[in-house]
Amino acid sequence: MRQTLPKAILMVPVLIYTAFSAGPYLWTAMMSLRTTDEIYKNHYALPIPPHFWKFYTAWTEFGYASYFRNSAIVTVVAVLLITTIGAMAGFGFARRRYAFRFRESLFLMLFLSIMFPPQIMILSLFQILINYGLFNTLAGLILVYVATELPVTIYLLRAFFAQIPQEMEEAARIDGCNDWTMFWRVMFPIARPAVATTMILNFIYFWNEFLYAVVFITKQEIRTLPLAIQFLVSDQYFDIGMLATGLMIATLPVLVMYLFLSEWFVKGMTAGAVKG
């Protein structure tokens, strides 16, 4: 008895915080299944009957198909690129075999740049992208994304590669591996858990990124989802129902994955916390 009573009291703040934490999103989810007219009659009614067709309308008539495609292209290509390049560099920075004179200073510099505020690069990146014809292209955005997340990716993967025992490397070498095959056939497979962590971290960052997108993309056809939402908010300020549907389209891919892989997501996001 003395045990259960305090526990019941503990549940009060837990439930209050849960309402605070989940309430706004659940509310949006309900509105996403209701028409704007219904919403203006009562903002808090349940979606009965649910209008699932709104997702189809948003997708086909309000451009979400193309925004979603742009976001998907940027995210997938950038994640694949950064995972390849970042894993190789993490390996190169970690193993004694590849040590050279300024390697540790280079790594320190890389590590410190995790803290750089984007403003210190963004204006000149704007200039540079224009000069190279990459302004207003998804390719330019992808290159910038990969570069800005490289330091934290390398930092995380280097820590993992550094733990792999030296004997592993020697065994691979005796089996006839060269640098390239040793990395891809032996080391990279061992590092899969760490690689998955950085992939999730980068996936979420790229999917949600807004600052670089807002500065480097001005053409409507190549807007990513976060950018599109910012414009839709002013263009269709009063069409709350459709906007809510759009917000669900933008968040559901991540949240559905989170539902199944929540431990991995938590691990990825907390590992990336060094970034701040």
Binding site: K7, L10, M11, V14, T18, F20, S21, A22, Y25, W27, T28, M88, A89, G92, F93, R97, Y98, F100, S113, M115, F116, P117, P118, Q119, I120, M121, I122, L123, S124, L125, I128, V144, A147, T148, L150, P151, R173, N178, D179, W180, N208, E209, F210, L211, P226, I229, Q230, V233, L247, A250, T251, V254, L255, Y258, S262, V266, M269, A273, K275, G276
Partner: protein, 314 residues
Amino acid sequence: MPAQPPETADSAAAPPRRHRKPWGGIALFLGPALCFYFAFIIYPVLVTFYNSVHTLLMDRGMAYEFVGLQHFKEVLLEDDVFYKAARNSMTWAVVAPCVDIPLALILAFILHGRVPFARFFRTVWFTPLLMSYPVVGVIWLWVYNYDWGMANLVLRAIGLGDYAQAWLASPTTALPALILVTTWMFAGFNMVVMLAAIHSIPAEYLEAARVDGASARQRLFHIIIPLLRPTMGNLAILDFIGKMKQFALVWVMTRGGPMWGTETVATYVIKRAFEWKTLDLGYPSAIAVIWFVIIFGLSYGLTRFLQRREALEF
């Protein structure tokens, strides 16, 4: 980037020749990353420093004109908006950790106390972090709506209807309202990190204290909290730096208004570069340089300060 040919297996055949540097391997593994890093991070940073002592007339094909430290003088001595923005950013960066970290600590303790469905709550509380700022911004624009927003709805429901107001329309409430949004996003995340830190405290410490007759409260304040201090310090620094860079939420929700009430340095830089028709990239670059130095100095100083304290305490 030209593809590097795979290195030949010379080293495999002869392990004793290890003193020969595998430059091929080094270039292969580090080359691509360093190219990216120097082309898209280091070079742009240097260009920003260079630009900050020039005027760049965008309307005249980015014509450079050297002006020395004039921009810096102007920013620091004459620019009221910069000081307003800096004050908002600083307020955000100081207040947010002061709210987020204790809140997260309390939540972590509660979940640690073997509350039923702890995993479920943890999963839910973490979710806001997975949404983009524009999504969060739109949702909270609705929450703060005067007529039908959730914030005023709750106030009216609990009899505090007199406090219901247009939260984002007044310069005094707009910034606190935005700070609450970032707390909503980050408290769950901080909680998860702290919960992990609590779980990693060796059970023997607590057991030994129990054997020595320490009460639950004493164990909390004399063992758990002191051991969590490094974690809390790190989280506070991260929170601080993150808020010093805050851009997106403001951009979506208030655009810095009303009356510069939520302008941050990050939004001001972008506004000066692309929205004000000054068509000069030099001046905002100078602001960026100043802010870069401040963020870097403060985060370095804070880290050192915390390390010193740890060294003294243990």
